[in-house]
Structures are given as C-alpha cells and as structure tokens.
Amino acid sequence: MTTNASGADAILLVGHPNVGKSVLFHRLTGAYVNVSNYPGTTVEVTRATARFDSSASLLDTPGVLALPSRSDDERATMQALLNENSRCLVQVGDAKNLRRTLTLTALLAELGVPMVLALNMHDEATARGVTVDIDRLGEELGIPVLTTVATGGEGISPLTHAIAQARVAESLLRYDADLEADIAQVAALIAAQCPHPHLAARGLAILFLGGDTAVADWLRSQNPACCGQLEKWHKIAVDRNQGDLPARLARERTEAADVLAASVLSRAVRSSPLWSQRIGQAVVHPLWGIPILLGVLFAVYEFVGVFGATTLVGLLEEGLFEGILNPAFTHLVTVAVDVPWVQEMLVGQYGLWTMGMTYALALILPIVTTFFFAFGVLKDSGYLPRLTVIANRLFSLIGLNGRAVLPMVLGLGCVTMATLTTRILHSPRERIITIFLLALAIPCSAQLGVVLGMLGGVSFTAVLIWALAMVGILMFSGFLAAKLIPGRRIPLVTELPPMRLPIVGNVLKKTGSRLKWYLVEVIPLFLIGTFIMFALDKSGALPAIIEAGEPLVSGWLGLPKEASAAFVMGFLRRDFGATGLFAMAHSLSPIQAVVGMITITLFISCFASLMMMVKEQGVKIALGMVAVIVPLAFLIGGLFNIVLRATWS
C-alpha cells in the first residue's frame, strides 16, 4: 500500500517554507540540498539515509504554507505523508513565529503519527526578544519539543535523541459540535472502508472535509465504492457552512494555536528594530529599493561578467587549455592514434577535446561557478523575495505578479530548472506566460556569461543595447501574451523572510552541489553536440547548411556566413551556440556582435529545457512556443541589424 522507494522506515521533515528544513536535513544526513530562502525552491521531496540511524530514511518535504494542500508543493508533502512508511514526523517550525507553527501542529497532531517539534532559528527569536517555555509546550503537546539553530549546528544531537522518543501528539482542539459530528461521520467511514496503515482516520477526515485533493485522490484509489458516501457527507457539510467549511476549520485551528502560543510565549519590548529589519525595509523602500537593486545588479555583473567571464576564463582558456593542456593532448593523440579521422574527431576543429571539453571546462565552468555563487548569496540573504515586491509593478504590465520574478531570476541560472519552478505560480495562465518568456528572452547563466564576456569586451554600450533589447522584448512579448491568453491576473501576497548574512560555507556547498548537477548534464551534451558538428562537417552537411543559411545569416542578420554553424550548435544548447559566436569574436564588428548575441539569446532554449517545456505544458503548447520563437528571433535580430547600422557608428 505504501510507495516508500527504499522500504525503510521514513522520518519526515515537515514545516512551513523558509524555516530551515533543508539545512536541518543536511545536518541529519550529510547530504546537501538547496537551502530555500523563499517559498517554492524545494519542489521535489528529497531523501537520504539518516546519519544517526542507517535503517531510517530521512525525507525533506517541500514547505507548506498550510494544510489541507492547495499548491503543488503542499500536494507533494501530503503525498509523502500518505505514501511513506512514516515512523516519525519532525515538524520544523520558526521559533519566532510560534502561533503559525502551532497552527500546522494542530493539524499534524490529528494524523496520529509520533512527532517531534523542532523550533528552529532560535537565535533569531532570541534577538527579537521572543522566549518560548519549551518544557511547558512539550507537556501541553505531549511530544518532545526542542530548539535548534540549524545553520550553526546547534541542537542537532538533542534532536536525534528526541526522534527516538517521538510520541503521538495530544489534540490541540475540539472543533465546534457540528464540525465534530461531520468529522466523526467521515472518520468512521474511512476507518471502516479505506483505512490508512499509519495515518489516523480523524486526521484524514479533517483534511478531506477541508478540501485536500491529495487525500481525496488517495481515498478514491483505495476504495472507489466508498467515495460516493464520502462525497455525500462532504456536500452536506459544505452546504451547512455556506461554502466556508475549509476557512472555518482553519480559523478554529488558528484560534487554538493562538491560545496555546499565548500561554507559553513571552515577548520583551524592543526599543528599536533590528538591523536586519531595517535593511529588509530599505530594500523594498519605494525610493531606496531601486538604487539598491541597481547596485546588486552591478555587483553581479562585476563578479560574473568581469571576474568570471573575463579574468577566470582568460586564465583557464588561454593559460591552461590553449597554453598547456590542448598542445599536450594533441601531441598525445597524434602519437598514439594512427587513424586521421579519429585524430580529427578528438583534437580537430570540431574535436571532442579541443572544442567539447574546452568549451565546457574553460569557457562555461568559470562563468556558471561565479553565477551560482552570486545567486546563492542573494538567495540566502533573503533578497530574492524582496525582489518580487520591487518587480511587482513591472510584472503587472505583462499580466503576471512579482512572484514570476523568481523563475525569471532562476532562469538566469538555468532555464530548465526555472521552467520546473514555474509550479510556484498560482494559475495555469501565469505558468504559460512565464515559460514562454523564459524560453524567449531569459539567457541562462552560461549564455549570460558568454554574452557579458563577449559584449563586455566590445563596449559598455554594446552590453546596454543587448540588455535593453532583452528587457524591451520581454515586456512587449509578455504584454501581448497577457492580452492573448485568457484568464485573470492574481494579485501578489508574499512573505518576506528576515534578511540574513549568508554563511559562506553553506553557499559554497550549495554552489558545489549545483556545479556537480550542471557538469553531469552539460559535459555529455557538449560532447554529443561536438560530435554532431564533427559528423555534419565530415559528411559535407555543415558546409551545405552554412551555404543554405547564408541569405538569412549574412544577408538579413549581417553576420559572417560561418555564424550559421553557431545557430546549428544553438539547436543543441543555447549557450553552446553563443559560445560558438564567442569563439569567432575577433572577426566580428561591434554591430555583428550585438546582433549575433540578441538573435542567439532569443533563439530556442536548449534541448533539456525544451523537454521540460513538453513535460510541464505538453507537446502541443511547447511546439507552438518554438514555432513562434524561432522566426521571431531571426526577425528581431534582422531589425536590430538594420537599425544599428543606420544609427550606431
């Protein structure tokens, strides 16, 4: 009945977004997952063997704003609760937001699974003058309760002991009599006709009445015959509450949490806001927010575009690869391999080493490394959620809200990953518009670095023209898409987590983890891409494609005809194509460099992100987007060629 992949007993980390579950998971397992400093990063459930008990697997579930589940993240967590062989739940809560933490406890307690409550970020609570009577709270709930500071490793050992002593929590409340009658009726039906092996029928009844679709689907899968009766009771309860049933259940849990929190919480009067609160407010200030944003963007440009794409690439490409490795490897291949075409395949113009590995390691690696590090700092600092506030007005022009800035910024790291995270958006309409804009006008980190490296070498004006072109096209395309795609815009409501000083060790671990993922994906694709280029060249197809593409590439875009090869490469990976243009930078004029980079940026995304678009939106919509994007890229590139030749000398 369970779908536990490992078959081991599972310990589930459950809690609100941004309470430190992922860091705690790392502390308890040794495996590292991305720290979420804004809601929605951990889309999938992450699993690893517990350090303190090799027979148990630990699961890091996506953050839930509330249960019953509504969002994809919440549904994923609910499915983990339903499908795992749960030995224990570790609720990770924010020590300074006890009321909110206990509201979730009030529901988890009804599931009848042994629990532990870890109040994390205890240091932040102390700094704000918030004190919790831990012993009393533990007595009231009937479960182990303790404080932790996951980022500093505090409280980890007591937590592992507490997990061994986990107990089923006492209920925090009895709902109003009419609600209790409905819950009892539904629970009796579940217990009799579709009982869960671990979860209490009462908890499932509360979730079902609250409209949890994951629970409803699970009950249906267990006993379809029972569903008719359950639906009947659900309808009676909903009608009696005039459609307000989920809200009424939630309000009663909130009130119970409020009463318990008030009895164990004390709050010292603070004379002035903390520095982190002052900075947090300045960052979203209508006046100061914009210069701070520009300063952040400039710092990222200096670090990624100048230090990563120029200094580090120079050291690696010219110093290490062209100076030492490539001559040595070429010599080795020439001596060891007698077959000329194999020599050429390895170290020729389209050689697996001289092109594939050199592009992947000398050109791309330093760029994505610096980008991932910069992104990690921004994420862990709490700046990204505040960016949604600054960006909200801009995004409202294209029928979205500021929340869409998160996939867009993630897209600057990897469009494939960002396409997946559009699930944090609340409506299908928002997802379609955002995925289209990601595929059209958002360059990934590798491509961004190549663009900044190439155009930065031309002039700041060239970078500015490219950036303004991208923003303009993004806004205009988004405006049109919002007009054409039916549906209404959802206004933004978002939590702003505290600003924090990022811990360099965590950022480095996260950068390493992302780089590992990136290299595993990128090196095979670069080698496959290089081999295809080699095969096309040897078969005579590449010269034919270059010849056939000449009117478009040379005539319309004004680029050298050899640039056609970069667009062929761009079909495999957009950054691979951009790197192809980068490699011929010395033979391009400033206008050709700008036109080439605008066109290749607008060109279709990499193969992996195309597959992700298909996965998220289906073949029809994904191919429809490609059919719009490819001609649009060449059309806009050609228009810029005409305009720049007329105006930019």
């Binding site: 509330a66 937001n97 909110r100 600054i390 809200n401 933004l492 702003l496």
Partner: protein, 86 residues
C-alpha cells in the same frame, strides 16, 4: 465577511505607515484561496498588525511575519485602529 460598521473600519491600504491596527475582516472581493492563504500567514480577527509601508506595496508585520500585499488585496482587508490612535 463584509464589514457591518463602515465608520469604524478602514481598508488596510489606507493606513499610514507606522500605525498599529487590528484586523476586522476580509472582504468578499478577496479570492477564497487567497483568504485561506492570509489566514495561514497568521492574519486573524482581532490580531494586531503593524503597517510598515504602503509603497510600492503594503508591507505589514503580523507577529514576526513580514508580509507584502498588493493594494488590490490590502484595500479589501478591513482593519480597526487601536484605541489610542482612534
């Protein structure tokens, strides 16, 4: 959930930054799912709310939860001023 005493209740979007108010009710104009979301963030009747800023969005502090709300939502959240400020 619409307010009964309009003279005593103001939209959250109209409250000056720095003020502390108490939540009275959510207007029916707010989407039911978004109302659930607001409750999950800890906004409940009679709870105190500190208004931190109104531009570019309404930013409030409810307990230690800092929330940013678009005016479209904030103008349909009805609040009452604290006795000292009323």
């Amino acid at each position: 959930m619409s307010p009964n005493k309009h003279e005593a209740r103001l939209p959250l979007a109209f409250i000056a930054p720095g003020s502390t108010v108490r939540l009275a009710a959510f207007g029916d104009e707010i989407d039911p799912l978004q109302r659930e979301q607001l409750t999950a963030y800890g906004l409940a009747a009679s709870r105190p709310i500190v208004v931190l800023q109104q531009r570019p969005m309404t930013v409030i502090l409810a307990d230690e939860v800092e929330l940013a709300l678009e005016h479209e939502v904030a103008r349909h959240i009805w609040v009452e001023k604290q006795a000292a400020e009323a």
